[in-house]
């Protein structure tokens, strides 16, 4: 498993598991296992007796697994959904950062006097601690100063809060900063050289976030190179290569991608005596509360975090962060609420990105395809942070006799990286899956057949079968570069892998009210992935009430703790707790109304929205009418996530992506007419939303592969495209005909047996699939991203690497 994710998530899991009640009473149940239509069967599982009955496969259910309208869709299409950027409170001030204009410097002085006197300015702050950057293991290596060292252009230095956004903009321009500039380095290759300027004067480490990211701690550091972090599995790697009949080797280079969520990072902080209330654009209300409480030494009871809607995160939005901490301080000083939303430039510079990667992968195999050795050495820059490791796919996709990976972070004077949709995996798969394709060609084994031999995952086996039978795959000419014209067509495939992470911080409360209305509450936030809808579906299934009629109250730490939404944990973690709570509340409800019908709770059940007596003591009545018999206004039950039923039956998740390309070998343009994405995520709770995410991951992957690149000017250290006109993301005319095939699979691990799709959805495999399609089209291997025309023509040998020089 990917080491960087283990370190990020496991302590949480273990700490929560340690606190769980010991040894609940268990019984044996039979659960559906496998893929309907292919491998479906039942298997025994030992589960706590307090668990609800086994949930049938989707085809036998009324609401779960059925295409369901997004619960909050009408608020989103009508402009009524209120995001953090939309919050306006009486007397609210507008916060603004002053950011470093140089990439590496000591700050000698910060003069805020003019800003403080500026009419309309209510508070000014000079930042004394910057969050997100790596920190020196030995802080004494730098002279103490009240001003943090500037490690990247765009690092926040000071901030103001004013009565209007215009005034705040003007006031920060009045702040005078004097720098003692230091040598800097912005590109990874230069930073690896022994004579490069040093981003840190000694070894430094960066903490991760709930979304993963961060790098290994305590590894060696030489100059800017933080690593290697070494992982060995199986036998001796040299012996593995000696045993190989065929060896493939390649160097793969990918670029820095920024998250570019449409809603920027930001908060509204309202600091009042006894209560700090924060509206945050976040993937983790719990993580935000945690960081605020820690930073300001407040009890958690005095921090409330609200996220009713948020405009995208993709891994970068956890914790209070610099905007949160600074807004709270400005609010405290001014005695008024402060909204601090980053602008688009700041969003590119200072709150995360996907690290680049420079990988050399080497794979040895026997003639029959058996992998004898996988060796990977990677370098990547997470700016002034860490977390550029990308060995996950090489480590976890296939079986091999020996594995040796060495991951290195390279410090540069750029903004710190953050977890980004399947951290490390799009980069890693770009190399691994092209190398496997190359191997298949050398061995003269069809690419799907080769993977059938080396991939033990039973669901991906089904997915490859779906691909094999698809019209798109059948249209593939196995001979590479067969087209005679200048525009060459190719089809390629690649696979993705992701993991089953569970956050035990997953609780919910379900309430049944006397008027028959139903409510579910959890602090969890909906990133646009649709967890609100899924929670409504779970209650709908238990009570026979349509999902649209369920009240879903989430995104508020006043409710039972919810998981932070990183690593695709949300659905897998929270849905079993919600179903358990719904089941327990139902039992309480039936006990509550049974006396009114002269019977007991055991005799009653809810079927298709009716309360029915098993013994016939009463005529069926509607759920709503029965609720009227309650003696109290509402009954409720709260439940928490219990551990997976049987971790020994663990399997990874993933999918297979197939891409058709048209490569114009004269202009270097790549067009993608068609994509087929075949994916699994356990039980799909709402196929409509799962498909939306797979569309999204696939297109985001195309965007990454063909267009996106953060450009830092090596001469100034400034980003030259910190906007959405020159930082190009996929738009409507870049969208292929995209078909998603969802593979339903059951693993018997929880009361819902569901999992998330965010990471595995497309983005991991698409880059490599485009690379393999490019080879199929042209007979040349495309080992660099983004695949802009200059790189394409270079790969075709028509221009030098890096394009023509003037």
């Amino acid at each position: 498993m990917a080491t960087h994710l283990d370190t990020a998530l496991d302590p949480l899991v273990q700490a929560a598991a340690a606190a769980a009640p010991a040894k609940p009473e268990k019984h044996t149940v039979m659960m559906p296992i496998g893929v309907p239509g292919y491998t479906l069967r039942t298997e025994a599982r030992e589960v706590p007796v307090s668990e609800p009955p086994v949930l049938a496969v989707n085809s036998e259910l009324e609401f779960i697994g059925k295409p369901t309208e997004r619960w909050d869709a009408h608020y989103k299409v009508s402009g009524q959904a209120k995001y953090t950027a939309d919050i306006q409170l009486p007397g609210m001030l507008y916060g603004r950062f002053l950011n470093a204009s140089v990439p590496h410097a000591k700050v000698l002085s910060v003069d805020v006097s003019a800003a403080e006197k500026y009419p309309g300015v209510k508070s000014v702050l000079v930042i004394e601690r910057v969050l997100g950057n790596a920190e020196l293991r030995d802080p004494k290596l730098e002279t103490p100063s009240r001003y943090p060292i500037v490690r990247y252009a765009g690092q926040p230095i000071a901030a103001v809060a004013a009565t209007s956004a215009h005034i705040a903009d003007e006031a920060v321009k009045l702040i005078m900063v004097t720098y003692e500039e230091m040598p800097f380095v912005t590109d990874q290759l230069s930073a690896r050289k022994t004579d490069s300027p040093q981003v840190y004067p000694g070894a430094a480490d960066q903490a991760g976030s709930a979304g993963g990211g961060g790098g290994p701690h305590g590894v060696p550091q030489t100059g800017n190179v933080h690593g290697p972090s070494i992982n060995k599995k199986g036998g001796d790697i040299e012996q593995g290569f000696k045993d190989a009949d065929v060896i493939v080797e390649g160097r793969y280079v990918t670029q820095v991608q920024t998250h570019s969520a449409l809603e920027t990072h930001g908060v509204v902080a309202d600091w009042k005596p006894g209560m700090l209330t924060v509206w945050a654009s976040t993937q983790g209300t719990g993580s935000v509360r945690e960081e605020f409480a820690q930073y300001f030494k407040l009890p958690k009871t005095q921090v409330r975090v609200i996220t009713e809607y948020m405009g995208g995160g993709f891994g970068a939005k956890f914790g209070a962060g610099n905007p949160g901490v600074v807004a709270a301080q400005l609010s405290q000083k001014a005695g008024a609420p402060v909204r601090l939303m980053l602008d688009r430039k700041e969003e590119h510079l200072s709150v995360g990105n996907r690290p680049d990667a420079d990988q050399i992968i080497r794979i040895g195999a026997k003639k029959d395809g058996t992998l004898t050795a996988i060796q990977l050495e990677s370098f990547g820059t997470a700016g002034c942070g860490t977390g550029a490791g990308c060995a996950g796919p090489a480590t976890n996709m296939y079986k091999y006799a020996a594995l040796h990976t060495a991951e290195n972070d390279v410090f540069t004077n750029g903004g710190p990286a953050a977890a980004f949709r399947a951290p490390g995996h799009p980069q890693g798969a770009f190399a691994l899956e092209q190398a496997i394709d190359e191997l298949a060609i050398k061995l003269a084994i069809e690419p799907l057949d080769l993977r059938d031999r080396i991939d033990e995952n039973s669901v991906r086996r089904v997915e490859r079968q779906v691909v094999r039978e698809s019209a798109l795959w059948k249209s593939r000419n196995p001979v590479a570069g067969a087209d005679s014209g200048p525009v060459k067509r190719g089809v390629g495939m690649a696979q993705s892998v992701w993991y089953r992470f569970i956050s035990m911080n997953s609780s919910a409360e379900v309430l049944v009210h006397r008027d028959g209305s139903l409510e579910v509450r959890s602090a969890v936030q909906d990133l646009g992935t649709g967890i609100k809808t899924v929670l409504a579906q779970i209650l709908a299934e238990e009570y026979g009430v349509p999902p649209a009629k369920i009240a879903v109250r989430i995104g508020d730490t006043n409710y039972p703790v919810g998981p932070d939404s990183g690593g695709s944990v949300t659905t897998a973690s929270l849905t079993p707790a919600v179903r358990d709570a719904a089941w327990q509340a139902k039992k309480k409800f039936l006990a509550e109304i049974a006396p009114a019908y002269g019977t007991t709770a055991d005799d009653l059940q809810i079927v298709k929205g009716e309360v029915r007596s098993k013994s016939g003591k009463m005529q069926p009545v509607s759920f709503q009418r029965a609720a009227g018999k309650m003696k109290v206004d509402s009954v409720s039950a709260q439940a928490r996530r219990i551990p997976d039923y049987d971790r020994s039956k663990y399997e990874t998740y993933g999918g297979v992506s197939v891409v058709e390309v048209n490569v114009d070998t004269e202009t270097g343009r790549i067009l993608i007419p068609r994509v087929l994405a075949v994916h699994d995520c356990g039980r799909p709770m709402n196929p409509t939303q799962v498909i939306s995410q797979i569309n999204g991951g696939t297109i985001q992957g195309i965007s990454y592969t063909l267009y996106e690149q953060r450009h830092l000017d090596p001469n100034t250290g400034l980003m030259v495209n910190p906007n959405l006109e020159q930082y190009k993301i996929a738009g409507s005319r870049d969208i292929p005909e995209l078909q998603v095939h969802l593979v339903e699979s059951y693993i018997g691990q929880s009361s819902t047996d569901a999992s998330g799709i965010g990471e595995a959805a497309g983005i991991v495999a698409v880059g490599a699939a485009i690379g393999n399609a490019f080879f199929n089209a042209t007979g040349y291997r495309m080992r660099r991203m983004p695949m802009v025309p200059s790189e394409v023509l270079a790969a075709l040998g028509k221009v030098p690497q890096g394009g023509l020089k003037a």
């Binding site: 299409v77 449409l262 948020m310 939303q689 267009y707 959405l724 409507s732 969208i735």
Partner: protein
């Protein structure tokens, strides 16, 4: 990065254009204005063309040239006709239409994403023509009727286009959704039977980072009563 594929140079430019390009009623844009007037705290709005001036604002000082009036830098009253209702707001001349709607009228359905006219998240209509409200000064709107996302549903009933967006799940985080709906509803106003290519062109300026584009296409075609084109199998 110039090799994007979005710019095709085919006749009609992106349906969402700034006022300066999209209509003949004004010849200033936010960019042009800022370039001409300079970005200072005390910047004043130099407006060429009296027809743009609000009635009350016309009482401001007239200096020399009868065709040049000076507004600001302080707030001036401006009447905005939003979704058929007139609102008088006191705004500085540099206030964008997006800011006037969001901050001064509390109509936050219109989103500001890039603030550069590059993403169409802030799309509203002026006399049914889609514009980027982040690139449009509120004072240059004049008497033109502003349409916003809040005005698409009528009497609490979603517009058929919105119904189709819901049905097709043409949204994820939802932050681009108001702009998408505005661009697509303007398309259907001027072209009730669009092709897939027409829809793609209409939203070619609308960026969606969740990449919900395929469902936006399907929803808009369905709302137009046009069957979505075949998908691969």
């Amino acid at each position: 990065m110039a090799d994007s594929g979005q710019f095709t140079g085919d006749g009609e430019s992106s349906a969402t254009t700034s006022v300066s390009e999209g209509t003949a009623k004004s010849n200033i844009s936010r960019r042009g204005f800022l370039r001409g007037a300079g970005i200072t705290a005390a910047s004043t709005a130099l407006i060429d063309g009296v027809q743009l001036l609000h009635r009350e604002a016309a009482a401001e000082t007239i200096k020399g040239n009868a065709h040049v009036r000076e507004l600001g830098p302080g707030p001036v009253p401006v009447t905005l006709n939003v979704n058929g209702t007139e609102h008088v707001v006191q705004i500085e001349p540099r206030t964008t239409l997006a800011d006037a709607l969001r901050t001064h009228l509390g109509m936050t359905g219109t989103k500001v994403v890039c603030d550069h006219g590059a993403c169409s998240g802030c799309t509203v209509t002026l006399d049914k023509v889609p514009v980027n409200s982040c690139m449009t000064l509120a004072i240059e709107v004049g008497s033109r009727r502003i349409g916003t996302i809040e005005g698409i549903a009528q009497n609490g009933q979603l517009h058929p286009l919105q119904v189709a967006f819901v049905k097709h799940d043409a949204m994820q985080c939802g932050f681009c959704t108001p702009g998408m709906v505005m661009s697509c509803s303007a398309l259907l106003e001027r072209n009730p039977k669009p092709t897939l290519a027409d829809v793609k062109k209409a939203v070619s300026g609308n960026l969606c980072r969740c990449a919900t584009y395929p469902k936006v296409f399907a929803a808009t075609l369905e709302a137009a009563g046009v069957a979505p084109e075949k998908s691969i199998s």
